[in-house]
Each structure stands twice: as C-alpha cells, then as structure tokens.
C-alpha cells in the first residue's frame, strides 16, 4: 500500500515548512512536495499605506534579512519619486546591503549547515547543531559567531540597530557617514577577511567528503538569474537583470527596472503557500531557474575584487549545476563583500552630506530590484494620486527557487530514501538540500485571498480517503 513520509518541521532553516515524500508500493520515493505553511499577507495589508512607509514596513517581513527588503523597497520608492539618488547614498546603501549578505551567509553556513558538513549527515541529531560544532570544531564555531557579529555591527553602525534598522529611506539615506563610523567599520574588515579565507581553505579541502551529495543535491540543469554589472561582474544593488541557460548563454538582459517582471510568471500549487515563479518564454515548469550565490557566480565572469576573484578561479572547477555548491559560493560572496565594503569606504565622497533626493510622487508605479543573500528580490508598488499604495507585489528570492527546491528534494529523496529501511540520516539529507538554498520562508509568502487550498483526510495507515481542493 502506498505510504507517505512526513518531515515536519524542516529544521535549521529560516521559517516554517514541511516535506511530504510519497512512496510507491515497493517503498521507493515516487514524488515529493515542499510545503511552505506560513501565510503573511504583507502584499495585502500595505494597501492604503503612504508609500514612504514602505521601507520600514517591508523591513519587518523578516528578522534575518530586513536590509534586503529595505533596499528593494527604497528603490521602488525612488522610482515612484522619479529621482536619481546621490552617488554617495548609493554607495552607503551598497555597504549596508553587503553587510547584510555577510551576516546572513554566515548564519546559513556556520549555524545552519556546518553541523551537517562537519559532523556528518548521519550524525546524532542531538548534537548535530551549533553546540556539536562548538565541541568538535571550536575555532570554526567562534569564527561563525564573529563573522555574523561583523556583519551585524556594520548594519548597526549605519542604521542604528541590527535588526530592522532605519536609515534607508525613499530618495537615499537619512544621514551621512561620519569619519568615526567610517573608521569603526573599516576596523572590522581584516578580521572578517581572515575568517572567510581560512574557512574557504578548510571547506575546499573537505569537498572530497561530499561527493555523493554533490552529485545528487539538486544537480540538474536550470536557468540562472541575477543582477550583474555592465561588464559582467557581481552586482548586489543595481545593474542589469540577466537570465542565462545552464550553459551560460544569455537569454535575457534587462536594465529597466519596470520591465524586470516582464519575463517572470508565477504559478500556484495546491500544496504550498509559496508561489512558483518561472521564466515565461519557456512556460511552466520548463522555465525553472535558480537565484542566489550559485546563480550569481555562474553568471558573472569575475567577482570584481582580488581575493574573491582568486577563489572564483578555483570555484570554476566544480560541477556548477549542483546546488550543494551554494555553500561554496556563499563563502566566496562573504569574502567579496568584505573586500568591496573596504573599497567603498575609501571613495573620495563617502563622507559627503549629499545623501538624499527629495521629491513628491511623480510616477504611479515603481519596481525595486536588488540581490538579497538568497537571490533576486523584487518589490513592485502602485500608488494613487495621494501616494497611497493601491497594489504591492513582492517576488522574493526564495520564491524564485521554489521549483528548484521541489525538484531537488525529489532527486535527493529518490537517491537516498528507502522507505522499507528508513534512517534519520536519509531524511536529514532531504532537509539538507533545502538548506543549500538557505530559504527565507517568512519572507517568501505574502499572497492572501488567492491561496490554493488542499485538504486531505488521511487514515492512520496513510490512505487518503477524501480530498478537497480550491
């Protein structure tokens, strides 16, 4: 008789989700579904709010990546104002954005995934956590704490607090950078670079231990999407939105933010509150694509900073279709961000007091796109003549990866899970493929009033006796 295996909750991710594995009569995995079980509703309850509130409202979508939402939201508001913000404001926003990437990537690698990587996918769940890492690899655990601190301290220096900072506003930032703050931020960078480099050295040496996971963790061809600079380097704040195929051939380039969504469709599946974006010219689900660190490094020719570029040269040797290498890409991005923050702090006008453009609303819609730690983030707002929000659509980085996550858990489950001889390590690998994407699920679900709904009545032996769908 067909059975189901339920993994609930998925552990060591941000947000709440569960996974259902459907087995055939022989106990082999036949299908898998990744269910995002949260409903947030931000897209609905911001309707009627003044648009200038949006950055601080949207920052509260998440406690892990609030700065990412500040950036995309503020950029959408800049479009509504029809202003070009001062260059210094752009550089300052970039610094905060990259500090966000440092701390978020550190959380993902050191806290959420290192227990698997260091202690083994089959290790005792009771110790497969940051405590277990602290016992077996104390230096790496301390490095993780320190790296996250560095990112958060930079955010706090700039924005006044680590979680839900202010400072980023429509038109720019609310106050200039002082020399004292500049020095405090600069003093944090050498430590961070050293940690990133020694972590990369350890990780590259450990890749041999993960051959099976590398071969099976969402290792299939997809498109990739990210922002890039005009000369094809890493870009987290502005630039061209590029989509490439699995071989790197450019399918789409768009430098007009209000056209960024033209090629993106969103499908709704009955088993999850997370929508499934896809590349419209290829249809659903063939238009599957991935975003985030792996996608970014697969698209660019160079990072743009010397230490990160040296690492990128070695990264090119791995199988870049495998989602397992999101971990590797994350470490390189941490190094890049720390280098880039240092360069931005040395710009001649970084202490300028020209940090904000002022205007009344001049456009009725605005799209803000930036690269969050997890991938491309888009905020799309429409306002009435009074500047009140009439419509908001958020396409969240994690959402872009939804199709790939679903296909990934099926691939891993088919390879590792034997229903007739189940072990905890098998199920941990199904969770671990989700962790490679570092999903931020609290960010990713917002639609309300249009969710699909599926209710099943299931007997204790797993037989579905009734089902209701909307």
């Amino acid at each position: 008789m067909a059975q189901q295996i339920l993994i609930d909750p998925v552990t060591r991710i941000e947000g709440h989700a569960k996974i259902t594995l459907y087995l055939d009569d022989s106990g082999s995995v036949e299908n898998a579904e990744f269910h995002v079980t949260q409903v947030r509703g931000f897209e609905k309850f911001v309707e009627g709010r003044p648009f200038h509130e949006m950055p601080s409202l949207m920052a509260r979508i998440c406690g892990i990546c609030p700065v990412s939402h500040l950036m995309a939201s503020a950029k959408a508001c800049d479009e509504l104002l029809a202003v070009s913000i001062p260059p210094t404001a752009k550089s300052l926003r970039r610094i905060m954005n990259m500090a966000q990437i440092v701390q978020s990537h550190a959380l993902s690698f050191f806290y959420l995934s290192a227990p698997d990587l260091l202690l083994g996918m089959d290790s005792d769940p009771a110790v497969r956590n940051i405590f277990g890492v602290a016992q077996s690899h104390p230096l790496l655990a301390k490095d993780g704490v320190r790296m996250r601190q560095i990112g958060q301290q930079i955010i706090e220096i700039l924005g006044g607090k680590r979680i839900h900072p202010g400072w980023v506003v429509a038109g720019g930032v609310s106050e200039r950078l002082t020399a004292e703050k500049q020095d405090r931020i600069a003093a944090l960078l050498p430590d961070g670079r050293a940690i990133a480099q020694r972590t990369l050295e350890w990780y590259k040496g450990a890749l041999e231990n993960y051959k099976e996971e590398i071969a099976t963790f969402a290792n299939f061809p997809t498109l990739f999407m990210s922002l890039v600079t005009p000369d094809n380097k890493l870009e987290f704040y502005d630039g061209i939105l590029r989509i490439v195929d699995s071989k790197g051939t450019v399918l789409s380039d768009c430098d007009q933010p209000d056209h960024h969504l033209d090629n993106i469709g969103e499908a709704v599946e009955p088993f999850s509150y997370l929508k499934s974006p896809y590349y419209k010219p290829l249809g659903y689900p063939d238009g599957i694509y991935r975003v985030g660190p792996l996608a970014r490094l697969n698209i660019v020719e160079q990072c743009g900073t010397p230490l990160a570029d040296a690492e990128l040269t070695q990264f090119r040797k791995v199988d870049r279709q495998s989602s397992f290498h999101y971990h590797y890409a994350r470490l390189i991005e941490i190094l890049y961000c720390l280098e880039q923050i240092g360069q931005l702090l040395e710009e001649p006008d970084i202490l300028s007091d020209r940090v904000r453009a002022y205007a009344a609303p001049n456009q009725s819609q605005g799209v803000g796109t930036s690269e969050a730690p997890r991938g491309t983030l888009m905020h799309h707002y429409q306002i009435d003549r009074n500047g009140l929000i009439t419509h908001a659509n958020l396409i969240i980085a994690t959402g872009h990866n939804n199709l790939a996550m679903n296909r990934g858990i099926l691939q891993v489950a088919k390879h590792f899970v034997k229903g007739n001889d189940l072990s905890e390590g098998m199920l941990n690998r199904v969770e671990a493929v989700i962790r490679t994407y570092d999903p931020c699920l609290s960010c990713s679900t917002h639609a309300i009033g249009k969710m699909a709904l599926q209710i099943q009545l299931v007997e204790p032996d797993g037989t579905v006796v009734n089902e209701l769908r909307r």
Partner: protein
C-alpha cells in the same frame, strides 16, 4: 564587566518593556564597565559579549503574575541553542558561552509582568508605572556587583 540585555518587540505594547528599560539605563548608567544592549530578540552572537561579562542582567516582559509587578531570579546555563535560530533563550546563551568560550557569568532575569501586547509603541499604564522601580532594582544589582569586584 556587567552586561544588561533588554529585549522584546517594541511594536507590541508591553513586550517592548525590556528595550524601554535598557534605553533608560543607557542614559542613567555611564560607567564604562557597564555595557547595555537593547535588542529586538536574543541571537546566538550574544554569546561573545556574554562570555566577557562577570554578570548578565536580562530584562524582558513576562506572562506570569500581576501586571506591573516584576520579579528577578537567577538563570543557569541549560539546554542548547536549538534547531531554530529565532528561539534562543537566556539559559541557552549562557550554555553557549560556556561551550564556546569556556566561561559562563552569573546571570539574572528581571521580568516585568505585561498587561497587554496590542499593536503599538506605548507601554500600558500599569507597566509604565513600574518602570522607575525596575530601574532602581537593576541599578542596585549593578552597585552590588561593582562592590563585590572592588
């Protein structure tokens, strides 16, 4: 060093009392040996400043008791840092400090019983009325610790 950590959601009424008290103490306590953090939530990175402290005072809203009354009690290291990063608690932070840095300071929780958690940035009248007493209580804890180490 004495570390004071006030935490809570300042957008949910009395839940923000920990942050409110920490912010007040930042203006009243200027001794360089006292470090005060006002935070939205407890996070694993706090193990580092905790490891450097001789005494940690956590300040938070509580659910037990009569609204406006406060309690203080000792906390010992316990548990682990959990599978979910946003469920860190004081005892697990102390345990993390011991595990990572080999040391765990004395720790006290000062808990103010909340009246309501409605949306809003204002404390309820009964909790706001308790703040001066809580501030004095914490200042006495700080003085006693300073005297012990003098």
């Amino acid at each position: 060093m004495i570390l004071i950590i006030g935490y809570g959601n300042t957008l949910r009424g009395d839940d923000g009392v920990g942050c409110y008290i920490a912010d007040c103490l930042s203006e009243r306590l200027t001794n360089p040996d006292v470090e005060i953090l006002s935070r939205h939530q407890l996070t694993p990175e706090m193990v580092e400043p905790i490891s450097r402290a001789d005494l940690v005072i956590f300040v938070d809203a509580g659910l037990e008791g009569i609204p406006g009354e406060y309690d203080n009690y000792r906390i010992v290291p316990a548990g682990d840092m959990s599978s979910f990063t946003h469920q860190t608690n004081p005892a697990s932070l102390l345990a993390g400090s011991k595990e990572l840095y080999g040391t765990s300071p004395d720790a006290v929780m000062v808990s103010v019983c909340a009246n309501r958690f409605d949306y809003g940035e204002v404390l309820s009248t009964v909790v706001a009325s308790a703040v001066p007493q809580v501030l004095r209580k914490i200042e006495r804890l700080v003085e006693a610790e300073m005297t012990n180490h003098a």
